[in-house]
């Protein structure tokens, strides 16, 4: 349902995406791996229209996405299908946790009453393992792991068809990372959502992925089912998943 064809993006002289072609089927959990600075975030942001690609095609369900050039209503309808968990959770610190989770439900078309939105927010918070008392705190009062959970609750609050996870386990301790991985896997499965995750945490990859794609040098270096990942002879993938300093990927980027 998500098809990227020959996507290019440069920032000045820095070519970040150099012809990315990738397909993600409906209901599939795709994990994109790659080192820091290989354009993983830019890839997700291009799909959402936060970054405008220089060239290439982005299609959702066979329909081309025109990013920022779309009309307001079309863009709103488009974005309503998405949920995104940001790397630092990106909760709005001027709003309470429940107002963050219910943000989409409180604004825009088809908005709910305050009481309904709050109930939904508390329900979602419970789903990600946060107690209802957390709802009335401000994001700054939460620990990193709780912020990630609240961010996850916000991403799923409006039942999106497509969910993006930007480095969901970065900055968390291994146990909390495991909890978040498990939550992501469960939620994606029970909602039947299509998921795209970017990460360089191999534990996360094995926990979340149906399929894996490796981004290197601005292109998809390898893609396949997660089960085939260990067996692939591709030296780039092998170096990455085993974290070797020696190999085709230069350690200094």
């Amino acid at each position: 349902m998500i098809r990227l064809t020959d996507l290019h993006k440069s920032f000045g002289a820095n070519r970040v995406l150099a012809g990315v072609t990738l397909e993600v089927a409906r209901g599939e959990s795709m994990v994109i791996i790659g080192g820091s600075g290989t354009g993983k975030s830019v890839l997700l942001k291009s799909i959402l229209g936060l970054v405008t690609p220089d060239a290439g095609r982005i299609e959702i369900d066979g329909q081309e996405v025109a990013g920022a050039r779309m009309g307001r209503a079309a863009r709103e309808a488009f974005l309503a299908r998405f949920g995104m968990l940001f790397q630092g959770a990106a909760l709005f610190d001027s709003l309470k946790v429940w107002e963050n989770v219910a943000f989409r439900l409180l604004h825009g078309p088809g908005k709910l009453s305050k009481a309904e939105a709050r109930d939904r927010a508390i329900d979602r918070l419970r789903r990600v393992g946060l107690r209802p008392e957390v709802a009335d705190l401000y994001p700054a009062e939460l620990s990193g792991g709780m912020q990630k959970r609240a961010g996850l609750a916000r991403a799923i609050a409006a039942n999106p068809e497509i969910i993006f996870f930007d480095e969901p386990t970065t900055g968390l301790d291994p146990i909390m990372a495991g909890v978040i991985n498990e939550l992501i896997r469960e939620i994606v499965t029970e909602m039947g959502a299509t998921a795209m995750t970017i990460t360089h945490d191999m534990t996360s990859v094995r926990a979340i992925a149906d399929r894996v794609a490796m981004l290197h040098g601005g292109q998809i270096r390898w893609t396949g089912p997660v089960a085939d990942m260990d067996a692939t002879p591709d030296p780039y993938v092998q170096q990455f998943i085993h974290g070797r300093a020696e190999g085709p990927i230069a350690a200094v980027r």
Partner: protein, 260 residues
């Protein structure tokens, strides 16, 4: 270094000034376009009104009080040179209403508000909160910029009016207690000489300055660089740009309102 290096430097400077002017103009256009199109975020607007208008009252009031007092002392000293001490009340009133009320009030608000807007929005930008707004189908221009710009534009004239009154009161305090003016005469002279447009022009200036302050705060915040350093630079640029624009706009408005 070649002989053409200074020329290249000059060309570079001119180009970057033009480019920045273009970016600011585009941002202003986008702000005005977002202002007239729904949705309107009333809660954000009220919050901005509180932050920008209400909470700026003490700093604007203190500035005006001391300025009015100093002004009375200076005008008295200057007037004494040609036996015209009696002009103190009217000149203090005109000076506060036309110039010092709006300009000093504007500069104080620039320091207080442009910096806090730039730092807040800059931090939101750096921590991806602005991106998060977009993914939640909310236009950052409408949600962040419009409420602040509108609140500043509407509350600055009120702040200027309050500042004018307190400034004139500061002059009155000094006039009556230090310069032996009669209280009733001081007030009568102030009221008799002051014309509507003396005050009105200052209020219009205030609205323009308020617009510039919030616009610069939002513009530099939205274009903040990465990290703490980026936010720091955005904050500094916002205050500098807002202050310089206020002084430049003040000259142009004075020229437009009062030049013969």
């Amino acid at each position: 270094m070649s002989v053409t290096a200074p020329l290249a430097w000059l060309g570079h400077l001119v180009l970057s000034i033009l480019a920045e002017t273009g970016r600011v103009s585009r941002f202003t256009g986008a702000t005005l376009a977002a202002l007239v199109r729904p949705p309107f975020y009333a809660r954000e607007f009220l919050h901005a009104l509180l932050q920008i208008g209400w909470l700026s009252l003490p700093v604007v009031g203190m500035t005006a009080l001391f300025t009015g007092g100093a002004l009375a002392l200076q005008i008295y000293a200057g007037g004494a040179r040609f036996s015209a001490e009696s002009v103190v009340p009217s000149i203090v009133a005109i000076g506060m209403a036309r110039e010092l009320g709006p300009v000093l009030g504007g500069l104080m608000v620039a320091a207080r508000v442009a910096s806090s807007i730039a730092a807040e929005i800059g931090t939101m930008k750096v921590t991806e909160q602005v991106d998060a707004l977009v993914t939640l189908s909310t236009d950052p221009m409408k949600y962040l910029t419009v409420p602040r710009v509108l609140a500043a534009t509407l509350s600055m004239p009120v702040l200027v009016a309050v500042g004018d009154s307190i400034g004139i009161f500061g002059g009155y305090l000094v006039g009556v207690n230090r310069l032996d003016f009669n209280g009733a005469t001081y007030i009568k002279n102030t009221v008799d000489f002051l014309q509507f447009w003396d005050v009105g022009s200052g209020l219009v200036k205030g609205a323009v300055f308020g617009f510039l302050v919030a616009l610069m705060g939002c513009y530099h915040g939205m274009n903040s660089g990465r990290g703490a350093q980026g936010v720091g630079r955005a904050t500094k640029s916002a205050v500098v740009a807002a202050s310089v624009l206020i002084l430049a706009a003040n000259y142009l408005l004075t020229e437009a309102f009062f030049s013969a």
